[in-house]
């Protein structure tokens, strides 16, 4: 039996270099705590990141860690997972890293269902390069590269993931210890690509961009905390609920007390529902939005390889597996 480790055991000696007050601190804390609670082993855990503020993450976790290049973490993590499927591989990425320069790799990691825990730190801005608008920035975002306001339509990480064929999509708020912790644990046990969008507050370049639903005073009215099989209730005293409107084929808010039977129950396996949930803006859906277990890529990849990557015959034989002749 190995001793249980604490969150502190998963913390490196390195001084954390995010801006004071950055949402990343809270995520780091939640992750190390979750690792300890899950009984993870540092030697069989690896954090792979790309480039961006969030991608400094591996330096602060006492496991194996690889801080790679911009956008490519899912590809490097895929190679690692094929080389050694026993490693618990986490990918840490941001909205620019995952959805701009690395969009292609994320798309393919999701549709292949590679066994990775992918944490998207979405702050809707490029932090490390000093505040340019990102692919998730809302239209009209004023930034050093869009002084008149950005004109690009923003990308929805949830729709991207579902469209790419992701089998696990969840959301959490950086400072929500409990909600984030629960989602991380669900992501960890999921076999395949578990994609979690974390709403992360950049206090320097995009402060309070999510405040309309993350602020404590707005939380009750603006957050829909999903639990599989339970009614979709929110608001003060859970007085509000979500109903499916057959008139316009979408979700709508109703007074739960007046029509309790019409409130939807969350079914995390329903992809059509997931597409609707990720579009909700008031309230914002949080928790595990979609989960559809299936064989992971590495499982399917190893399926025909009975001995794994061990060799079962010699090159000496392979060299002669064709017509040969002897010169005397």
């Amino acid at each position: 039996m190995t001793a249980m480790l604490s969150a502190k055991d998963f913390t490196t000696s390195q001084e954390v270099r995010w801006c004071p007050g950055c949402g990343d601190y809270a995520v780091l804390k939640a992750v190390t705590k979750t690792l300890a609670e899950l009984g993870a082993r540092p030697e069989s855990t690896a954090f792979i990141s790309g480039i961006g503020c969030a991608s400094r993450f591996p330096y602060y976790v006492e496991t194996y860690g690889f801080h790679t290049i911009h956008g490519r973490a899912p590809a490097i993590a895929t190679g690692l997972k094929l080389a050694n499927p026993d490693i618990d591989v986490w990918v840490v990425t941001g909205d620019g890293d995952a959805l701009s320069i690395g969009g292609n790799h994320l798309l393919h990691a999701l549709r292949r269902n590679v066994g990775l825990n992918i944490l998207l730190f979405n702050n809707e801005i490029y932090g490390l390069t000093k505040g340019q608008y990102s692919p998730t920035s809302r239209r009209g975002t004023r930034s050093p590269s869009s002084p008149g306001g950005s004109v690009d339509a923003p990308l929805s990480p949830g729709q991207f993931a579902l469209g790419a064929g992701a089998r696990f999509f969840a959301r959490a708020i950086d400072t929500d210890k409990i909600g984030l912790g629960e989602v991380l644990k669900e992501a960890h046990v999921f076999e395949g690509a578990a994609f979690t969008e974390i709403f992360q507050n950049c206090i320097v370049y995009n402060e309070d961009v999510f405040a309309d639903f993350t602020d404590r005073k707005n939380a009750a009215e603006m957050q829909l905390r999903l639990r599989h099989g339970e009614p979709m209730l929110f608001g003060a005293d859970n007085k509000k609920g979500i109903r499916f409107s057959t008139d316009n084929f979408s979700l709508e808010v109703i007074e739960a007390t007046s029509a309790p039977d019409e409130v939807l129950r969350h079914d995390e396996t329903n992809k059509g529902l997931a597409h609707q949930l990720v579009e909700l803006t008031a309230p914002v859906a949080l928790g595990v939005i979609y989960k559809s277990p299936g064989d992971s890529f590495e499982k399917s990849w190893y399926e025909p390889r009975k001995n794994g990557l061990k060799r079962s015959s010699s090159v000496a034989d392979a060299l002669r597996s064709t017509n040969t002749w002897t010169v005397t």
Binding site: Y59, G65, H67, R72, L80, L309, T326
Partner: protein, 632 residues
């Protein structure tokens, strides 16, 4: 029946539409050549289009082979025999032929329509254009259709058997045993009985035609004397096959699996295809979403403790460049195979070139040295692959292995090596975990000779560490922006690659003494024509020597001194003088380049001619200073 023409070597070219099955016909003929104990070299020459418009000159696909007694290292300058399946194939091939060559033309393809498509205003069979050749028209199409008639195939399906009909005739001309081809057809078409039987019938019909047709008086037969090859067990091999088996052998020698991560690109894809069938040898393959993902997955694989290999051709290699820098700074082993093709951009995808040497040696941002080696022949790809993996694991560095489109497809007879006689590949073993001073620094305790760090991989207890693309402290491995440290790390990376030279053999001569008037320096797939050309010119007692480079960066330690022993240096290469530049840069010499970028290999004759022009006249005026080849 005609008598055999006995000869030492012969060059045969098969040419037809890209859908006529020329490559298949050629490779089957070569397989039988191998079994009959001849030496050979081949040159598949095909268009980029999968099915170019029928009957056009740009849709011509050809397979050239040189078969003989003496060591054969090229596919031959000028074909002695041409089998042309249509007027376009004749038109494209005619300028290449030796005078008096034998032309076997598919007579019934010479319709007005096909002649027009090929751009012939007049039928060349009647215009006198072919008078200096030995023309043998054969109704290949018609005879083939008659042969396959009993199998009830459609006209177009039946017509596809005509390459086997012609192969049958060729086999008769060269007195070959049909059974290996019959076996191959039975195996290949085991599940398509009608196709199998039709192809067999076509093969036999073509063969019998040679035997019985009235025309056979006009069809010469050839007997090539058996080659005097060193004793041992042989097989035929292409560069792709040798490279695939070499990578698998490297895995076996290092006792590690190989993960090959690649994205399809001409002419590199066949390597992915071949390796995807070598699972038994501990090889895994991953077809990535793009070139960048392919190298990144290979880096991830090496990070995870298996031998990561990626492969592409020039344009794809360009895309992988940033990731190579990551492997360099993170000190992760990796092999990058470049099957070079004509460029820039998409360039000439199916034609060969050696023009990615600058890219390999110099083509990265910052001071990012990577060892570069090249294969010289199809069989040599096997040993080059082993050498690349050996360097990567010894020094914990990415290594660039240069092949090219010609080598990928070319075939030659190959003396099967004894794996037991090849040195095992050693890896930098992980240290014992030690809790007293933390584990981060242990990952960067480098071997002082090789600068290789221990290969510590996720899963190893007590050795957790962080690594990345940001500069790290040379000792602790933690992030460091210290200016002095960056200088030391840059120096270390340079010293690491330079140290490769301490482990490689001294440069030796292929032909001629180690000093004299003219030294020819070659690299890569030009080995064949240069070897023959130098051998040829040395027959006239010319003072010419030849050396061929495996290691392009770093260069062998004795190379500078060796080059200094000659008055003139001559570098033929299929680019605009890239090795000449590298030699000038690294050794301060001034070679004369000889450049050719036509997508075709060098001809022996053009090399001989150029060398002759460089050699001084017999009487040299005394006291004239020697400028060329002098070491600065």
């Amino acid at each position: 029946m005609s008598d055999y023409n006995s000869m030492d070597s012969i060059v045969v070219r098969l040419a037809g539409d890209s859908g006529d099955g020329m490559q298949l016909m050629g490779s089957q003929f070569i397989a039988s050549t191998a079994l009959s104990g001849k030496d050979f070299a081949t040159f598949p020459d095909y268009p980029a289009e999968i099915r170019a418009p029928v009957g056009t000159t740009f849709g011509v696909s050809a397979y050239q082979m040189n078969i003989g007694t003496d060591p054969i290292t090229t596919a031959g300058d000028a074909p002695d025999v041409l089998v042309a399946f249509n007027p376009a194939a004749l038109k494209v091939s005619l300028p290449l032929l030796s005078s008096g060559a034998l032309l076997i033309v598919n007579d019934d393809s010479f319709t007005t329509r096909n002649l027009t498509k090929a751009g012939y205003a007049e039928d060349p069979r009647e215009s006198g254009e072919l008078d200096s050749y030995q023309l043998v028209p054969v109704d290949i199409g018609r005879f083939n259709l008659e042969a396959v008639k009993p199998f009830g195939l459609s006209k177009s399906d039946g017509g596809r058997c005509k390459n086997f009909w012609a192969l049958g005739l060729l086999m008769w001309m060269f007195d070959r045993d049909l059974s290996p081809i019959e076996d191959w057809i039975r195996q290949k078409f085991a599940k398509k009985e009608v196709i199998r039987d039709a192809n067999l019938a076509a093969l036999h019909s073509g063969n019998a035609f040679g035997e019985t047709a009235e025309l056979s008086e006009a069809i010469p037969r050839f007997k090539i004397r058996t080659a005097e090859l060193p004793a041992g067990e042989y097989r035929g091999i292409t560069g792709t096959e040798a490279l695939a088996l070499g990578l698998a052998a490297a895995g076996e020698l290092a006792d590690r699996p190989v993960l090959f991560c690649s994205y399809p690109i001409t002419p590199a894809s066949p390597l992915l295809h071949r390796l995807s069938r070598l699972g038994e040898l501990g090889v895994g393959t991953f077809q990535a979403e793009d070139e960048i993902a392919a190298i990144c997955a290979a880096i991830g694989a090496s990070y995870g403790g298996v031998i990561g290999v990626t492969s592409s051709s020039g344009p794809g290699i360009a895309l992988k460049t940033e990731a190579m820098g990551l492997a360099v700074i993170a000190e992760i082993p990796l092999v990058i195979v470049n099957s070079q093709r004509g460029g820039p951009s998409s360039g000439l995808p199916t034609k060969t070139e050696q023009s990615d040497l600058y890219q390999a040696v110099y083509g990265r941002n910052a001071d990012t040295p990577i060892p570069v080696i090249a294969a010289r022949s199809a069989g040599d790809c096997f040993f080059a692959a082993i050498e690349a993996v050996r360097i990567a694991l010894r020094h914990m560095t990415p290594v660039m292995l240069l092949s090219d489109g010609y080598l990928s497809n070319a075939a030659e007879p190959w003396l099967i090596p004894d794996i037991g006689e090849i040195d095992p590949i050693e890896v930098n073993a992980p240290p014992q975990p030690d809790d007293t001073h933390g584990t981060q620094g242990m990952a960067f305790e480098r071997n002082p000779e090789t600068h290789g760090r221990p290969w510590i991989t996720p899963g190893m207890p007590g050795l957790m560490h962080r690594v990345g693309g940001i500069e790290k402290d040379i000792d602790t491995g933690h992030i460091s922006y210290d200016p002095e440290n960056h200088q030391r790390m840059t120096d270390m990376r340079a010293a690491k690659v330079a140290s490769v030279a301490k482990f490689i053999p001294s440069q030796t001569m292929e032909l001629g003494p180690e000093q004299g008037e003219l030294l020819v320096i070659g690299w890569g797939s030009t080995y064949g024509p240069i070897y023959q050309a130098v051998k040829e010119i040395r027959k006239t007692d010319s003072d010419v020597s030849y050396t061929h480079l495996r290691h392009l960066f770093p260069l062998p330690e004795n190379l500078g001194a060796l080059l200094g022993n000659f008055n003139q240096l001559f570098v033929p290469e299929m680019n605009m003088g890239q090795l000449s530049t590298v030699l000038r840069d690294k050794l301060g010499v001034d070679p004369t380049p000889f450049c050719k970028v036509t997508g075709q290999p060098f001809l022996i004759s053009e090399l001989v001619e150029k060398m002759q022009s460089m050699l001084p006249p017999v009487v040299v005026s005394a006291g004239k200073p020697v400028a060329k080849g002098e070491v600065r």
